[in-house]
């Protein structure tokens, strides 16, 4: 295999538990976004658009959908004879059999994959963010600084800074100090979780870190602090543009809603930096004689007989006569029955909503079972769930995967309620 200068390593093994039932059976990077895409399409497309044609994708949690989505990398032009995309999942070895115990450990366990490609540099990416970034420019800065590591940073409002890992830099952008989620932030340069390392150096640190029993084997918590302690040349690279963490229900919903602004901060129509994904085989979408769509995104294959406002509609969704959708995200192949009204909700794939249903009405009460996840008024209906005719759902309501008519004890699910598959609980 010919040598590659820069190889992408995409950490896609996390569960993303703060996305609640959206990740109950799929990894976070495989969560759909923006009417057609999945979160992982952004770092993958960034790679190919930056000229990186060799990408290792680390998977661990519920990899089925992710693996099916990536396949041999065709949509991203990563089906290559030399390089291309490689899925790296935990595997049995003659000794030390382990799941990936941390982000650094995932890379450590696959050192031989990277050695085989033998790149000069690696870029570590995560499948948690929506952004468009040219990693080639970041590499140019890394080389110019003769850096051992370069961390891309993003300016956040100082009042929010304590949610992030923060960098303190000197006037040459050299990193002096790194603080993980400090209570009293001294800087507002947040790490985006995008790192370029000189491979030879990272390799050495991965091996040393693996020998340290106390280490959590994490890039942010262990590798980077250790390199800083030992005075390695580490630089911050300032990223400008749209960058959004989609790790919570609220931020995921907001980031989708950003797309429907007249001139969105994040433009997916840019032909010079296309975001690639698998294309569903469906005809152009249809708007019926009484259909009405405003300030929304609608994908192919949809049949819209009702009204859509401020919403994102994925491929193959059917919205029947008299239905009204507002401030919502409706994923592929869901069906919204006649005269049903849906406000501020996320419906996953293949959800069936009966007739005359109301979702997202009533008082504001946080979810009683998972108040830390569902607390901003957004309802989340998981994949393949069914909502019976004339049901009324409040706010922060959660319907679990594959729930059917028999799982409902009542058609009136008050705000904060949850409906489980088999064994019904309404709180």
């Amino acid at each position: 295999m010919a040598t590659k200068e820069l190889v992408g390593l995409l950490l896609a093994g996390g569960q993303g538990s703060r996305l609640g039932v959206l990740t109950s059976s799929t990894a976070k990077p495989a969560v759909p976004y923006g009417g057609k895409f999945r979160i992982i399409d952004f770092p993958l497309s960034n790679c190919i658009n930056s000229g990186i044609d060799t990408v290792g994708v680390f998977t661990q949690y519920e990899p089925l959908e992710l693996n099916a989505h990536i396949g041999i990398g065709k949509p991203w032009d990563l089906d290559r004879n030399n390089g291309g995309v490689t899925i790296l999942s935990p595997y049995l070895k003659s000794e030390n059999n382990d799941w990936f115990t941390g982000t650094a450990n995932a890379v450590y366990q696959n050192i031989h994959y990277i050695d085989k490609v033998s790149p000069e540099y690696v870029v570590i990416l995560s499948g948690d963010h929506i952004y468009k970034m040219d990693y080639a420019k970041m590499l140019a800065a890394h080389k110019k600084n003769e850096a051992d590591a370069t961390i891309s940073v993003f300016e956040v409002p100082i009042e929010e800074a304590s949610r992030f890992g923060l960098m303190h830099t000197d006037e040459n952008n050299r990193i002096l100090e790194f603080e993980e989620k400090p209570a009293k932030p001294k800087s507002n340069l947040a790490s985006m979780g995008v790192y370029i390392f000189t491979w030879e150096i990272l390799r050495e640190y991965l091996i040393r870190d693996d020998h340290n029993e106390a280490s959590e084997k994490d890039f942010g918590k262990n590798i980077i602090p250790m390199m800083l302690d030992e005075n390695k040349r580490m630089f911050a690279y300032a990223f400008e543009g749209y960058w959004k963490d989609v790790g919570t229900i609220q931020s995921y919903w907001e980031s989708n809603m950003d797309l429907i602004e007249r001139v969105p901060d994040f433009n997916l129509f840019d032909h010079n930096w296309k975001i690639y994904t698998t294309n569903p085989v469906m005809p152009a979408h249809y708007i019926g004689p009484n259909g009405s769509v405003k300030k929304s995104i609608v994908a192919e294959g949809c049949m819209v007989y009702g009204t859509v406002r401020n919403s994102i509609i994925f491929p193959g969704v059917i919205i029947e006569e008299g239905a009204y959708i507002e401030d919502s995200i409706i994923m592929s192949n869901s069906v919204i029955g006649k005269n049903s009204k849906i406000y501020k909700s996320i419906l996953a794939e293949k959800v069936v909503v009966g007739e005359g249903v109301e979702i997202g009405v009533g008082e504001m009460v946080v979810n009683t079972i998972k108040p830390d996840i569902y607390n901003t008024g957004i309802n989340v209906i998981a994949e393949s769930a069914y909502i019976p005719d004339h049901a009324i759902l409040g706010k922060n309501v959660v319907i679990h995967k594959c729930v059917d008519a028999s799982d409902y004890a009542t058609l009136n699910i008050a705000s904060g309620g949850t409906v489980f598959k088999g064994g019904t609980r309404h709180e």
């Binding site: 296309k274 994904t277 152009a284 979408h285 004689p289 009405s292 300030k295 995104i297």
Partner: protein, 373 residues
Amino acid sequence: MSRVLGIIITGGRKESMKELVAKRSVSAIPVGGKYRAIDFVLSNMINSGIDKVGVVTQYSFRSLMDHLGAGKEWDLDRRNNGLFMFPPYLAGENTGWYRGSADGMYSNISFLKRSTDEYVIIATGNCIYKMDFNLLLEAHEKQEADITIMYRDMSDFDPVELKEFGLIKLNNEGRIIDLREKPETPDGKLASLGIYIMKRTLLIELLEESEAHGHYDFVKDILIRKLDKLNIMGYEYKGYWRSLSSISMFYNCNMDMINPEIRQELFNTDGKVFTKVKDETPTKYNEEAVVNHSIIADGCIIEGEVYDSVLSRGVKIGRGAVVRNSIIMQDTVIEPNATLDYVILDKEVIVKEGKTLKGERSFPIIVGKHIEI
């Protein structure tokens, strides 16, 4: 259905299609917002299990080659079999341009000879329909025919349009006893759909014999001449079928695709319709958008009003623009306050701010590729 190989004849230049075929084969004409005409027959073949398809092409074939590529989207990029393109070529006795449909196939007879499939299905590339060709094969074997021709009752067409077809007459056993190609005075309503099945070895024989006599057209010189000698049977197809062979048929076919029932038949029964992907983002509707009874492909930005129309990928409709009864192809821009009624706009057209274009149903205005109005 690996017993069958497919041949698609993309046909000659259709003057009746005007500007729309100025630079493309009629089989490469955009239709239904995201498809090209040939996608339908090709997808029918794939969905019927045919995995070897030869495309005989002549006029402006670049657009077609561009569209089909290596056949990836149709799953025809196979190690064995797959997609074979047959543009005309010069070699030895070969004179270059094909002199007719039979000559086109004869020029590539080595493809037929090297194949081992028992049957060949021949079809044209410019017709829109959904068909499981296994049914045609079944009928062909059951009625022990030499050749079976698929036909359809064309009562739903304007009688004038029947002149474009090959009209047939059947006897009581379903054998075809008369076939008239493009008759001046159409007699009867049953028309050949230009879809034939026969043994591969029979096709080779017929092509060689015809070429030896200096005959080059498959319908006039082979089928019509052999009506007495061969057992040529009919197989009736009853579904939706349209040929894109005139502007009015093209216009009506696009409008038909807005109809949910026809849409269901074409796109959601007996398999999907595959086409070249463009990686467009889904369509964006801004606050002012009003869209009714229309089909819209991905990648559009709509700020105006659209009624009873077909919008292809990447079309932009400016604020205050009103589009009615129109077909707008890929990447065309309608600037603010422009008004369109009964208009067909080809790819990458720009209609300037405030312009009005008004055609009639029977005479839609056609604007060719890249034109600014």
